[in-house]
């Protein structure tokens, strides 16, 4: 059996269609996971024990269980207790919560990396604790943690392939669907691999540009 360029050519439009959903899901999930991660990381720094414990439990639950199982719980499990989201929402929710658990750890270490002296100096100028957090600590923590988010974005894009298991028609689903019909596994999965590389490289580049834009004026 020979390599068929025709199979690649014929599969490409559908694969690109799937790639669009992969990009959308990954970008939206990343955006939500960054916001959620930041909020929860700040919560984990609060002196009160309850918010800290809640964040801890959340992080350990989502980081230490397979994403596929989480997806199945959202998709197959929740309807059984009367809560039913669309497949898209289920996929987005699972990817967001999973990625946010990792983002929390990144932001938390960022917050902890800001020298204590910054806090004390800011307080000494008469800023309130909230003002110190918002204007002094969090911006610095963000700058420290931002580069590490790139790794999480790469993982997220690859993890998004799992939502094919709940019937979401993204890149991996399309690759399965096409190769199950024309049996050109090598050509179709090979093309999907190249598309994933392009997506990952482009999106991490976008993240890099965002990072530069946001932090340029401070450096």
């Amino acid at each position: 059996m020979n390599f068929s360029w025709i199979a690649v050519w014929e599969g490409l439009p559908l694969l690109l269609e799937g790639a669009v959903l992969t990009i959308i899901v990954s970008l939206v999930a990343m955006l939500l996971a960054v916001v959620l991660g930041m909020v929860a990381a700040v919560m984990s720094q609060v002196r009160h024990v309850i918010p800290r414990t809640v964040v801890r439990i959340y992080v350990e639950m989502f980081r230490n269980t397979p994403l596929l199982i989480q997806l199945f719980i959202f998709y197959f499990g929740l309807p059984q207790i009367g809560i039913s989201f669309s497949p898209f929402v289920c996929g987005l929710l699972a990817l967001t919560l999973y990625t946010a658990a990792y983002n929390i750890e990144i932001f938390r270490s960022g917050l902890e990396a800001v020298p204590k002296g910054q806090h004390e100096a800011a307080r000494a100028t008469g800023l309130s604790p909230l003002q110190v957090s918002v204007h002094i600590i969090i911006p610095q923590a963000l700058r420290i943690s931002f580069p590490a988010l790139g790794n999480n974005l790469v993982s997220l894009i690859k993890n998004s392939s799992l939502v094919s298991a709940i019937g979401m028609v993204e890149l991996t689903f399309m690759a399965n669907d096409i190769s199950f019909q024309n049996f050109r596994s090598f050509e179709i999965y090979g093309t999907a691999v190249i598309l994933y590389v392009i997506i990952v490289l482009s999106l991490t580049r976008v993240l890099g540009v965002v990072e530069k834009r946001i932090f340029a004026r401070n450096t």
Binding site: M1, P79, S84, A165, G167
Partner: protein, 276 residues
């Protein structure tokens, strides 16, 4: 720095393109799998594990089913030892790639013979005739495939029903899953209004799940065959011989009775399968 990172990215793409191109020049050696199997002393068969009564896993973790028993019968014919056979779990989607990449010798996985598949694998003579049926929740009002427009229909990725439903109910929203168990779960949790698959699996699932019911008449009857790699003519001829022997000595009928006895009235009769 910027420029170097850029060339690295481009380098990776060229490398990948190169791999694709190089692989287009490689052709696998032609197969004589029957000879290989005889030398190895063991037959490696791709079977379903989620498709009772053709292939499933028993409570104690053993492969069981009609296809599995056929595999044992073939092993007995080959090596006079019905256990000289290894079963590998496959799905509708991945069984042909498994065969093409030499992970298994033959596919005995409730596989419908279609023109598209016959272009990439060779088939034995048909050994079963299966139509398609709908499975719906007990209280559903759906009674046939023509009523599926506008409904959400669970389908197994890579199954023949994907095209059938697209043809007969073009406005149905087809949701595709990898395994029967997932499609059934989708039906039970209200994710899908109906599940369309081979009559035999629908009837078996309905037997085990009183909250689900099969509806309609079996449509688009198609034969099952055992798939071998292209060019393995000797192997498929050998299997046809085995089928003839088993039909003559009654062991094929015994297998039929063992696995389909409970539901045979709802199936298309085996005599028609023999005509192929």
């Amino acid at each position: 720095m910027e420029i170097r990172a850029h060339t690295t990215n481009r380098g990776i793409l060229f490398l990948l393109a190169g791999i694709l191109l190089a692989s287009s020049l490689v052709t696998p050696a032609s197969a004589d799998t029957l000879e290989e199997v005889r030398e190895r002393g063991e037959l490696v068969v791709g079977v379903k594990t989620d498709f009772p009564p053709f292939g499933s896993i028993s409570a104690d973790g053993e492969n069981v089913g009609f296809d599995v028993d056929l595999g044992h019968a073939f092993a007995k014919a080959l090596f006079d030892d019905e256990n000289a056979v290894e079963f590998v779990s496959v799905t509708s989607g991945n069984r042909i790639p498994f065969l093409q990449s030499n992970k298994i010798d033959i596919i005995m996985a409730s596989m419908t013979i279609t023109d598209e598949r016959a272009e990439v694998v060779d088939f034995s003579e048909p050994y079963f005739l299966s139509g398609s049926l709908l499975l719906v929740p007990e209280d559903s009002e759906i009674s046939g495939v023509d009523e599926l427009n506008g409904k959400t229909v669970a389908i197994i990725q890579g199954s023949v029903q994907d095209a059938f439903v697209e043809e007969r109910a073009p406005d149905a929203n087809r949701v595709k899953f990898g395994k029967v168990s997932e499609a059934v779960l989708a039906l039970k949790t209200g994710r899908a209004d109906a599940y369309v698959h081979d009559d035999i699996v629908i009837l078996t699932v309905a037997q085990d799940n009183p909250d689900l019911k099969p509806v309609g008449e079996p449509f688009e009857p198609l034969p099952y065959g055992i798939a071998v790699r292209q060019g393995d003519d000797e192997f498929s001829a050998w299997m046809d011989e085995q089928f003839d022997k088993m039909r003559a000595d009654g062991s094929f009928d015994a297998l039929w009775e063992k696995h389909f006895g409970d539901i045979k009235d709802n199936l298309i009769k085996p005599d028609s399968a023999e005509q192929g």
